[in-house]
């Protein structure tokens, strides 16, 4: 196997339950692979286990059964801190530090990794430009002085700052208005393709999944119920796929 074809992320029969013991399984026997440079979209309703799966990948949870491999090593073998610094993470409300400026937020992981100061300053500028924020205008602002879309851009810049090979994104555009959301989705798609990152993207929006995915996995109650490329996905006949497909059809919808 050459390095290009390597699966950066691989789950083998992974189950997870909160607190161990007899609690119900939130994730039940999930296996999946994400090849280098691809975007896997995890689609599912609220509570289907999407976020839990992300946290299994960056070692915020450990599987109760099975194993999660990142770059060929299980998350138990990884030092959790090292593992996470190599994985960018973007969440819905961005989770920016309110007491940091935009520049300080973006500089966080490079700072933790003890990059030299000049290198960090250059990188922060690069990252802000990359996500379409003029550094001179935004670098010194606080998160509360930004719009939701701008905050999310900063969140993406922060996740990319230390140049991690992997990005985990948990409904990053979910709280934005539809126009801003569409704008960020398009830009992000171009960005992801250009940077060649390996991405796991969580959403409950089928339209977003079809736009961004190299591959879509549909979760229902912690299990994989469908798995296909974006072209074939809508042809699947599983009832949960049909339920999601119905949500796309504006005219036929009962809502």
């Amino acid at each position: 196997m050459t390095i290009v074809e390597q699966n950066l992320i691989e789950l083998r029969g992974v189950s997870w339950r909160a607190g161990g013991g007899r609690a119900a399984e939130i994730i039940a026997g999930v296996s999946l692979e994400v090849p280098r440079g691809k975007t896997l979209v995890l689609l599912g309703r609220s509570g289907s286990g999407k976020t839990t799966l992300l946290k299994l990948i960056n070692g915020m949870h450990w599987p109760s059964k099975g194993e999660v491999l990142v770059e060929g090593r299980t998350t138990r073998e990884w030092d959790a801190i090292r593992l996470r610094r190599g994985i960018g993470y973007v969440i819905q409300e961005a989770g920016l530090f309110p007491h940091f400026t935009v520049a300080e937020n973006v500089a966080l992981v490079p700072g933790l990794e003890k990059w030299p100061r000049e290198k960090i300053a250059v990188r922060v500028k690069e990252m802000l430009q990359l996500v379409g924020l003029e550094p001179g205008q935004f670098a010194e602002r606080r998160p509360r002085e930004l719009s939701g879309g701008q905050r999310q851009r900063v969140g993406v810049a922060r996740a990319l700052a230390a140049d991690p090979p992997i990005l985990l994104m948990d409904e990053p555009f979910g709280a934005l208005d539809p126009v801003t959301r569409a704008e960020l989705q398009r830009e992000f798609k171009a960005l992801a393709r250009r940077l060649g990152k390996t991405i796991v993207f969580v959403t409950h929006d089928l339209r977003e999944a079809l736009l961004l995915a190299s591959h879509i996995i549909l979760l229902e109650k912690g299990r994989v119920v469908a798995s296909a490329g974006p072209e074939e996905f809508l042809r699947l006949q599983h009832p949960e796929v049909l339920a999601f497909a119905a949500s796309l059809d504006v005219r036929g919808g009962a809502a």
Partner: protein, 211 residues
């Protein structure tokens, strides 16, 4: 009123030295309470059993009537006896609960999205504590310090009962001699100290609040 004013002018140097003594008691006790309360508050953030114990014990001290707490401490070896040291121990125990409770609340009631991303970006627990929880909780911690300071300035007047000096000396004498001027010569500076401390700490608290 003119009688009181004349009394205060005539005894200004005694009142001043009693005020300084009072401030000294409060400052030492507050320094100790902040040191213990904030440190303990940081320790209990992630230790549930210790948290219940620490908050419980600090809560018990708070329910003991202050005069009784001074009394209880007198017979205890090393920390007890008559005088300043005992008073400072009692004042410290009294100030502990608001500081400890606010430190805990300030460090834990933080936007979960902020804590989640801090952890996900590979910050260690110590880094999260000192670089995220602490700066974001500082205003709440300071609110606890402010409450504790005001309580301590008031309770410190009772310290005179065990010979620790301070403004309480005038108040106890005033009560014993049924002399209003004497009583007010202790009570008014104590009240002014409390107002001043409230004002200054309130300003600091607003400056440190992160929105």
């Amino acid at each position: 009123m003119t009688g009181l004013w004349r009394f205060m002018v005539e005894h200004q140097s005694e009142i001043l030295s009693a005020t300084l003594e009072h401030v000294e008691l409060v400052c030492i006790a507050m320094a100790a309470a902040i040191l213990i309360g904030v440190t303990l508050g940081m320790v209990i953030v992630r230790r549930a059993k210790l948290r219940a114990l620490a908050l419980g014990i600090a809560g018990i001290f708070q329910t003991i009537p202050s005069l009784a707490l001074f009394g209880f401490l007198i017979p205890i070896p090393f920390i007890g006896g008559i005088g300043k040291r005992t008073a400072i121990v009692a004042l410290t125990l009294y100030a502990l609960l608001p500081i400890l409770r606010n430190t805990y609340v300030g460090l834990t009631e933080i936007d979960p999205a902020v804590l989640e991303s801090a952890e996900a970006m590979g910050m260690t627990q110590a880094q999260i504590l000192f670089r995220v929880r602490f700066p974001l909780g500082l205003a709440v911690i300071l609110a606890g310090v402010r409450t504790a300071t005001i309580i301590t300035i008031g309770v410190a007047t009772i310290a005179a009962a065990i010979g620790a000096g301070g403004l309480g000396t005038f108040i106890f004498r005033g009560v014993a001699l049924v002399n209003d001027s004497l009583l007010l010569a202790g009570a008014i500076p104590a009240a002014l100290l409390a107002i001043l401390a409230d004002f200054l700490l309130g300003r600091l608290e607003r400056r440190l609040r992160v929105t």
